[in-house]
Symmetry: C2
Subunit: 180 residues, 2 copies
Amino acid sequence: MSESASNSPSPNHKNQQNISNYCYEEIEIGQNICVNRTISGDDIKLFAALSGDLNPLHLDEDYAATTTFGKPIAHGMLCGALISATVAMNFPGPGSIYRSQTIRFTKPVYIGDTLTIDLSVTEKQDRSKLVTIKCIITNQHGKTVASGDAGVIAPTEKLTIQTATLPTVSLGEKIYCAGK
Amino acid sequence: MSESASNSPSPNHKNQQNISNYCYEEIEIGQNICVNRTISGDDIKLFAALSGDLNPLHLDEDYAATTTFGKPIAHGMLCGALISATVAMNFPGPGSIYRSQTIRFTKPVYIGDTLTIDLSVTEKQDRSKLVTIKCIITNQHGKTVASGDAGVIAPTEKLTIQTATLPTVSLGEKIYCAGK
C-alpha cells in the first residue's frame, strides 16, 4: 500500500482536524507513506529561535555567500522534526511511541526546496510491537537530503483524535505559516 | 577538559554574540561540554507550529491527562534540535559539518524540566576529521531523557563569527523567549 499526503497546513494550523492511526496489526512490511513540505526562510528562522542555533550560515545571506553552500541552508535537524511529525500525524499516527531515530544529513536544504518525506516499513517485532520505518527525505530534484530509520512502538488500538490548536505565531509583523 | 555553559538566550536571541569553534587538532577524546536549557510550554507550541505535529499529547492538558503521561510532554525531537544547536553553537561550533545523529528517546520531557545537554568526544578519525560525540540529555532529576551519537566533521581552521539576529517571535500576544 502506498499513500501520499501534503502537509500544507493552513496558517498556523489553526483549523482542527481529525487524525487516525494505523494499528500494529494493520501495518505491513513495505507499507509506505509520503508527505510533502516546502521549506521557507521563516521555517529556518523559527528553528533558530527555538533551538538557539543562530549560526549565520542558516540566516544571513551575505555570510552564507562566503561559504561552500553559497546561500543559507536549513538546519539539518529540521529534517528530523519533519520525520517526527510525519510519524506522529500520518504513520503510524496517534498512539505511537517514538523510541529512536537515526539520521544522516547528505545534502543541504535550501529555502524554497520542496521536500518529500517518505516513510516505509522495513521490520516488525510482534512481541514489542516495535516497527522499524525507513525514512528518506528527497528534494524536488530527487536527491536524498536526509535518511535514516525510525523505531516506533505502534499503537495496538484504533484511535481518531482531534489535533490541538495553537496561538498565532508571528515573526516580526508577519504571521508565520509553515512552509510559506 | 570539561566546560559548562547555559544557553539561556535573551528574548528572541536578539543580542548578537561571537561564537568560536574547536578545531579538529584541539579536540581530544573525552573532551566534554554541557549546556542547560529549561523547556517551556511555548517551546513545545513553537515546535508544533514548525513541524506540523499537533498531537494534543503535546499541547492539550485535558487530553494529556487521559494518557499514561498525565500531562503534556515535549516532542521527542525537540531534544534532537537542542543537540544540534549545541554542536553548532558550542562544540565543535562554527565550521562544523553535521553528518549524522542517532537518538533514543528514553523518558518524557515535561514543561518546566531543566535539561542538561552533555556532549563528550568518543572517537576521532584523522583522515576524514570525523568526530563522534556521545550526546546525553538528562533532566533535573538526573534521569536520561534522550541519548545518542553525533557524527561531525570538525573544522580545520579557527573561526570566530557573529551570530545572526532574528525578528521578534510572538505566540499570540506574547513575545517568545526560548525556555520561558
